[in-house]
Symmetry: D3
Subunit: 233 residues, 6 copies
């Protein structure tokens, strides 16, 4: 089984880290490849970034009909519905997988994200995925995406935000609202004493089980393969 | 006052027709310009089309800081939230304006759209805009966007779909679910005996009054101007 | 084009101020007349006031078939649905127009109102209009309607309430929850740094554009002209 | 214990019938008085009727501080929230009581009403009372309020509508959507084989038990006694 | 008329107290019997307790076809829907009756419960009963069920929680979230100055009026009598 | 890794079939054991069955602290929340897993169930899990649980119901609403041309990936281990 993890931003070190995290959680016999579209924004922290990144996600998916399933590895799930039209295998976004996975772990979860301006979009996603009630709060750490890798205070700021979020929301688990936080999962779980869901791991294992079960996007209606414009890729 | 109407698809005859419709409804002293992004899909009838069209919409808006307000003239409202980040003047989509305008005309409205595969996206928009209850139904005429201009049976098919929709939904008004239907507004209203809302006219006049009232997107949070990546236009 | 603005309360100075505000925002060729029903409550600050004011609103509208469109200029929108039955032209309430207008300006808005006891009714209206999610909070300034005109501390109290509301709600814009606050719009926008929506201006310009577009209440069902009882006016 | 049942319309024979029905269901020691406001509409079948009837309902309640509890006996519940401000004893509307009572009888109920134009208002009430999901359908029999008493075909038309409603909705019970249908309750229950809820009986017995339990409207906030304008009664 | 009140837990002193409270509120000619299933948990304070208590509730009801109506007297309403299948008379839970009764007393209510871990279940019930919007908050006093009877500080802790809840929620009334709090009703109402709803009293009088009106669970669908397995009692 | 699949009913042949299906979908190194509580109902087709089956589910789980994760294999998910309190490993129900899995496959899904009386409960579950909007319909085949194994017409009746459901609902996938239908998955998918989700396979693979990711129920609040009454098992 082959899974393609698409990092919608163009920061290569993040793509590598995401790939490593995905590889670490799949079962035997599953190979994971991580790519990013050339020329997309370096990080995705606004609606504009989201719009600019989405076509590249589709192009990466369109050129890989040999792959069994796909992960869109940015917590805004850019281009997800379109990707379902284009791919024949299943496509899962890390926001939807992260939040739906947390639903199995208790009544409600809190999300810790990067900049404040991403909160509204994440709430929109939660509402659209039907987990608006389970998502007890979305909290910005103020740490920008690319600072997650480099800023030595990043961990403490994320931890502090998470701790306050859990106390305020009374949640049973924590969902990490950025692919760049995957590194922090284990440490946060240990420090917080609650289950911590990393969307990259959640989405990759969801794709793995969907492929294993022979399940993919239904193609009889809205998600039928569209005219594929030349512009794609 | 200057209003820019962006047709997200690249079909020039539609851009011209949309511009003419917008010009026909603005008040004295308002100039309307209609443009489309070069290289976007010829019509927008899938999630993929939507994703591919959105960056061009942003580029058109970004290059025109001299304009007072903007209309996104495709019923999927592609790139709308991002456009609000980029523009300093107000930005209105034709789906939101069409559906919100219909809310002033009674309890509920029906939408007539083009292909069946667009129905889900329009329902998502209605739910997101808070008019899910007022939107009593979204009905596909089966007429593709570009056939609206050329197919001699298009009018009858739209009319038949609209009549059945109003009867099934018990709605007070009809909303046209495609910028390419603007031409049909008056004829449909006469044949159906209910108010018919064309999103292009609705959005253009909304922008006009927002500009006149000195209102534009709030810029203190989510919609603050983003880093403008070089990729934008 | 002729627009009738009905102030549901019987305080003449408010009627005059409302008329002046409405006149200040309409386009060329639009005349605005402001009236109030004789004998209605001096201000509308309870469900009882609302009930007592509504018949007079209908009577004012019923006696003016010569007018093209109508504004109900009290933030409780008293008698709005009934007014749509009676009038042939469009009828818009200032609560619905104020809140729907704010929806074009960002993700969410806060409402500042007069007395605490009006909060519940405004929340009901927001829910009914489908903007319950966009309306991030309704906040009472504690300033009674008639004190808005006369109490020298009124502005500061409204400003203080608004500032706290925006901070607590994280909203992109402010909606003024009383026709008597129209005077404060510009000053508040300057002091707060966010768009401020006055319902009187919002509703009047909505009616103007509906009339220009040839749109009015659909009359094929719930809003068909009712038996007009002798009691009306 | 004294209960006042206010028929909001001015048709004396309906007031008498409503009073008789209410009297038939109260316990020992409870006296029921039925009144109607002079000069209200003869029947209530539009938003306009509703607006015109509500002030009279308040006046009837305001003049009877000696009474322990109140029923508003029209399925539109006109003036209900205002009545709660004015009365010190509990006030119950027949729509809210009818629909909430049906919630104890299974998963969902169907409402049979009079004219089609009342359907939207009843759906609004159901949503506002929080029983929108339990209310599986609102169905118009086409029988006008005053024809319920006089038209010999009325029963059959109501029965036919009810039977079709129960089949279409799969409901567990039926709620009668007009005070004028109280007479039909037993016969319909026998013919349909499901529990049939008459709002007049439901509301009167609700008031009886609230009074017995010493419960009335909370007066610490929104429903505190308002300034009582001279116009009231 | 005979009403059976089933205390789902096996603490005899609570059963007696519940029976006394129920008897105190019914009308003349109504007899109340209070029972509990042998062997159920001593108190119900977790989902596990709820699951373990429910079969005994059904057994108690199944063995009493001679009774006219039933109350399930635990604020988790364990086994309520199943009880409606089994009983021919009406069955009412104290959570649903308590919360629906409070809906007649204003816009919103607050619930005071025992341990924090019960909050989620009560919110689920409120949402399911359609009173999620009216239920402004569920607040844990930290007093365990059995401590309500014996801990001398229990009253003060419940009062303090209730006072803070009303202030935070701005509610019009209070609902007691445990059958074991019935004793405190009058004292709390006096100390708080708002209506206080005891679910036991609310449910018992609801059953009384349903029986008097000849209403019981509809049996044509979901709630038809099930195969009665031998395991039942 | 060890997974325990609990069939809540006591029909041994179903337990065996469920175990075989679960075993067929897990990855290498995962062992699956299938059990059922002695003395539970032979099938679960009513609220009463659900109540009677739940304690046995808890007992089976409580006696197996050696197991890594648990599946509750009845589409009513009986005892699921309580099981999360008791188990330290993750617990997943087949209804929640079936419906959440289908959310990854398109916009909406249809459920085909056994008897009509189960429809309401499944709709309740969908609403509670937040997939009420994605669940476009729940359709009864009329085939009783135990007839699925033995009635030669069962397949055709399920297929016919499913085909009609997909056409009526316009869904992208089908969810099988009974553990006893697991056998039919492949054949239905081939005959219908849409993805078909079997809850047993969905839940088992969900548990597998949760265990692999080190995720289990959060234990800091509502789902903390309860007092374990002696009655449990």
């Amino acid at each position: 089984m082959r899974i393609l993890v698409v990092n919608p931003n163009s920061t290569g070190s993040m793509t590598e880290a995401i790939g490593a995290h995905a590889r670490a959680v799949v079962g035997p016999g599953v190979s994971v490849e991580a790519v990013h579209p050339p020329g997309s924004p370096a990080s995705i922290e606004s609606h504009t970034d989201d719009v600019l990144a989405a076509p590249g996600v589709l192009a990466e998916i369109a050129r890989r009909p040999d792959v069994d399933g796909f992960v869109v590895a940015c917590f805004g799930d850019p281009g997800l519905l379109a990707a379902r039209e284009i791919a024949s295998g299943p496509v899962v976004g890390i926001a939807e997988a992260g939040m739906r996975t947390a639903c199995y772990l208790g009544r409600s979860f809190s999300v810790v994200t990067t900049l404040h301006r991403t909160v509204g979009h994440i709430r929109d996603l939660a509402a659209g995925y039907g987990v608006g009630r389970q998502c007890a709060g979305v909290h910005a750490s103020g740490v920008a995406v690319l600072d997650l890798e480099t800023d030595p205070t990043a961990y403490v700021r994320v931890l502090t935000t998470a701790r306050a979020a859990l106390a305020a929301d009374g949640s049973d688990s924590l969902v990490l609202g950025c692919a760049g936080m995957a590194d922090l999962t284990g440490r946060l779980a240990a420090d917080l004493g609650v289950p911590v869901v990393d969307g990259v791991a959640a989405a990759t294992t969801e794709v793995e089980r969907l492929v294993r079960l022979g399940l993919a996007t239904g193609k009889t209606g809205e998600f039928a393969t569209p005219r594929l414009p030349a512009l794609l890729g």
